[in-house]
């Protein structure tokens, strides 16, 4: 320790100095590649429950370059699980992504976060290739499939989170190595999708059910998504391939998947 005093002015240390460094405690985690984390450009798709928690965790962890996409505005019933929204936001006329970006800058003014207003379907390979990683914080299967296919095609890692009441799931998709989200889906998923998009003959009706959602499961799932992002960027092994969380039992299981030979995302 004393040796440091004799190596030049730059190495002079002062009592309490580590506490001046915002990320000192993160730096103490030996395997975290903080440079890679801070250099990376992350896209968060969805600025609702999971999106709020994911952005909060990314910013506090030390990520510096974020874009966040959402098409919605805040409603008062969002406030039971969205840490970055405030009473009155529902009257502000601002989009969720604008509010999330605004509040994220309050957590750390150094973060570069760009709000994007729009649908998931606006994201194609051209848009996605500029990112190092995509974190999916969505609420429906069709949007997930779109993001999954386009990020897989663009070879951008995609970490998908999902919740339903006290249950949650995180899948880590690293193209072209791992199976993708579509590989895990079966007729029950497509039936849900069909139910959401019903064609009346004149129009397509999008049915958006109100799902059970609360903060404890949301925060667990979001934290796992961000942790897997940090692990991947730091060159650590990530969850293979999907983690299911049961908040009522207090259990989680990591399950293996295999690529579906008929999945169109693996034919390219």
């Amino acid at each position: 320790m004393l040796g440091k005093y004799f190596q030049g002015m730059e190495d002079v240390i002062r009592p309490g100095e580590p506490d001046l460094d915002r990320l000192d405690r993160t730096r103490r985690i030996g395997w975290v590649d903080l440079d890679a984390v801070q250099r990376s450009k992350i896209l968060v798709v969805g600025a609702g429950a999971l999106g709020n928690e994911v952005v909060k965790d990314l910013v506090l962890f030390g990520f510096k370059h974020l874009d966040v996409l959402d098409m919605d505005q805040v409603v008062r019933s969002n406030l039971n699980r969205c840490v970055l929204f405030r009473e009155g936001d529902q009257l502000s006329g601002k989009g969720k992504s604008d509010l999330v970006a605004e509040r994220a800058r309050m957590l750390n003014p150094d973060v570069e976060i760009k709000p994007l207003q729009g649908k998931v379907q606006s994201l194609g390979p051209k848009e996605l290739t500029s990112y190092d990683m995509v974190l999916g914080c969505l609420d429906n299967i069709a949007a997930r499939l779109h993001l999954n296919a386009n990020s897989y095609y663009s070879k951008v890692p995609y970490i998908d989170g999902g919740t339903d009441g006290f249950r949650g799931k995180v899948q880590v998709i690293i193209p072209p190595v791992t199976p993708c989200l579509q590989c895990t889906m079966n007729r029950s998923h497509f039936r849900v999708m069909e139910h959401r998009f019903s064609c009346t003959g004149q129009d397509t009706v999008f049915y958006q059910p109100k799902m059970a959602a609360e903060i404890t499961t949301t925060s667990v799932v979001a934290a796992i998504q961000v942790r897997e992002a940090v692990k991947s960027l730091s060159g650590m092994d990530v969850v293979q391939h999907v983690m299911y969380y049961d908040g009522l039992k207090g259990t989680s299981d990591v399950l293996l998947l295999e690529k579906d030979p008929g999945c169109p995302n693996h034919l390219v």
């Binding site: 969805g46 600025a47 609702g48 429950a49 999971l50 999106g51 959402d70 919605d72 969002n78 914080c137 969505l138 609420d139 429906n140 299967i141 997930r144 989170g161 999902g162 919740t163 339903d164 249950r167 949650g168 799931k169 590989c183 895990t184 889906m185 079966n186 007729r187 029950s188 998923h189 039936r191 849900v192 139910h195 958006q208 109100k210 799902m211 059970a212 959602a213 949301t218 799932v221 999907v242 299911y244 049961d246 299981d253 990591v254 399950l255 293996l256 998947l257 295999e258 579906d260 008929g262």
Partner: protein, 81 residues
Amino acid sequence: MVVRVRIRNAETGATVDMELEGENSVEEIIEGVSAYWEKDPGAYVIRRGRRLLRGQQKVQDLDLTSSEELELIPDPEGGSR
């Protein structure tokens, strides 16, 4: 070939035995037990030990043996609204 496997409902812990033929698919198992337990419409998957089975896989390709236990798990799709 007929095998009799036990399916566990991850949400309730309930079990039911199901007779399967080689041609049956994992999707048919999901539909069969979902109907039996009158599950809410939603997405489900089947777990076998540490593996998640693909919906299109056939029983004959899985080498399922009698008295094996599979588990029906809801696949959460919420998270934004």
